[in-house]
Amino acid sequence: MSQPLLSVRNLVVEFPTRRGILRALDHVSFDIAEGEVLGMVGESGAGKSLTGAAIIGLLEPPGRVASGEIWLRGERIDTLPPEKMRRIRGRRIGMVFQDPLTSLNPLYTVAEQLIETIRTHIDVSEKEARKRAVALLDRVGIPAAARRIDDYPHHFSGGMRQRVVIALALAAEPELVIADEPTTALDVSVQAQIIDVLKEICAERGASVMLITHDMGVIAETADRVAVLYAGRLAEIGPVRDVIQRAEHPYTAGLMGSIPTLTQTADRLTQIPGSMPRLNAIPQGCAFNPRCPQVFERCRIARPDLIAREGGRHVACWLYDKEASDV
């Protein structure tokens, strides 16, 4: 396998609080290959967004990367000085946020924001930047882009604004786009369009995508592979078809049981009783053990690491650890 575009190894993110250190991401490891779309799913608070923020280097203090490594095309980026990291943001890793209504600065026109972003990273003239900006807007599906580029964000509808956000994220032609729940805040009718635009434009440019969502439908439609997070730990990761159809981790199974329709979200996990533990009350052993229908003694004692399975799948569950199953 060629070198992955992004490689996250044993990522640990912690929040020091007065009641002790909370571990929000606990030894998370995964790769994203060139041109690949990786879906990242999990309940609220599982650490999906945090993973994105950690990769792009925008963890909110006091949150911090406590250990682990992040590699972008063979270059380690989690230890880069702030100024170098800044040059990577936007230029090599783009990011799309959840709410297009609040992602755009209301006091600047779309043109100003686009041109500023382009010129921050690419040495082009104002005029050239504007030309690119118009083309970009046109590409993300803004009608009459040349005219509307000088409008302010509030002139656009929610869906249109998210297209603008995508244009901004892609303005400097990044290799990786992290899309953090890009459709959650949007009207159902435009969600699919936005995902399509995002997918198409990235495919066109060969950019990889890390698609954070709790919408299994979107994952099923869009992603090549999917990673499932639970309480800051990776439960399972593998090709999207395999994971959806033959979930191995009991948590994933419960999650998948809940996607008969496109609109159903993972937030309502009625199939699995109980709720995800708070970060300061993660049980010993497997974090999922109190809710797991297949729990056994070992799950309560030791934490399972990711276990490699066939087809490039990995799962963190003692059920699949043959050697030690008798402990």
Binding site: R86, F97, D99, S103, L107, Y108, E116, T120, H121, Y152
Partner: protein
């Protein structure tokens, strides 16, 4: 837009009438102008005569009506005390107050925004903590004491700056007398401007800091960072501009209180402005001057409010559209 301004003007007139009524009514109780107008030898009969001649025996509503009717034409009568037309008196003092207010307003705004931004960006650093704490001294001592202490240190002990007055002044045009064009005029301005601006600076600084912290947490700032914009662009291009929208409103309104607080500063520094004129007029119960001053203050507020609205309009594109939409 025009409709908006018209509506605003009508409101302003109502506000000014209300202020006029209230102030005129209240000042009828401040004291007896005759006592300070005439010497001790004047007999009771003569006092009564003057009272009658001044119309002080008319029913209140008649006095008020006369006042309004004349005020509408810019005629506030003559000062009981200085025997000059009130309008002329106020106009001749106004430049001094406006220059003082403007300079201290600019000082307060510049330092307030600067410190506010700094303390917001460097939250938790000891420099920020020091600035925050020290700036509180400005609002923890009465203005008059700060003024007196500044005089003591910089005028008496160090003899660097003048202790009173405006220094040398020159005329711009017919009536605007400025101290800004002469060296002694500028030197004279420093201590009063600091005294007057300190309080506002602290307020603005705190406001900017709070707003800035608020703005720094918004999605569009995060998104701007995620696009790799430089800190400078994020902080000063995006965050500061959004911070300034509410700050402009409050600062604009503060301009009004700067003018009012100048009463104290002008008294301490013998600054020949309308504030000192007002407080002397209160002591002498110079009703026409007091009433005119309050009308002036009301007018200043009305004008400032209008300017703030227009500024808002210029800074925040959202308002522009809302109104454009509302019209169409």
């Amino acid at each position: 837009m025009i409709a908006f301004i018209l509506r605003r003007l009508v409101q302003s007139v109502i506000v000014m009438l209300a202020v006029a009524l209230v102030s005129f009514a209240l000042f009828r109780f401040v004291g007896d102008p005759i006592a300070s107008m005439v010497g001790q030898e004047v007999t009771l009969a003569e006092r009564a005569e003057i009272r009658e001649a001044l119309g002080l025996n008319d029913p209140f509503i008649v006095q008020f009506w006369n006042f309004i009717a004349r005020a509408a034409t810019g005629d506030f009568g003559i000062s009981y005390r200085l025997q000059q037309p009130v309008m002329e008196l106020i106009l001749s003092r106004l430049p001094a107050t406006l220059e003082l207010a403007l300079v201290s307003g600019i000082l307060a705004f510049a330092f307030g925004v600067g410190f506010g931004v700094y303390t917001a960006l460097r939250r938790g650093s000891w420099v920020s903590g020091t600035i925050m704490t020290v700036s509180l001294i400005g609002v923890s001592l009465p203005t008059f004491l700060i003024g007196v202490l500044l005089i003591w240190v910089f005028a008496v002990e160090l003899q660097w700056l003048p202790s009173f007055g405006r220094g040398e002044t020159v005329y711009i045009g017919n009536w605007w007398r400025t101290g800004l064009l002469t060296e002694s005029g500028r030197a004279s301005l420093i201590l009063p401007a600091i005294t007057l601006g300190l309080y506002q600076m602290t307020l603005i600084m705190r406001l900017v800091r709070a707003e800035m912290l608020e703005v720094l947490r918004t999605d569009y700032i995060k998104f701007a960072r995620a696009r790799g914009l430089s800190n400078r662009a994020v902080h000063f291009g995006h965050a500061l501009k959004n911070t300034l929208v509410p700050v402009i409103t409050i600062t604009g309104l503060q301009m009004g209180s700067i003018i009012a607080f100048s009463i104290i500063t002008e008294t301490v520094f013998q600054w020949p402005g309308v504030g000192a004129l007002f407080i002397r007029s209160v002591q002498f119960v110079d009703v026409p001057v007091m009433a005119a001053y309050l009308m002036l203050i009301a007018l200043v507020f009305v004008v400032i409010n209008l300017i703030v609205d227009l500024l808002y309009y210029a800074v925040d594109p959202r308002l522009r559209v809302d109104r454009a939409n509302a019209k169409s």
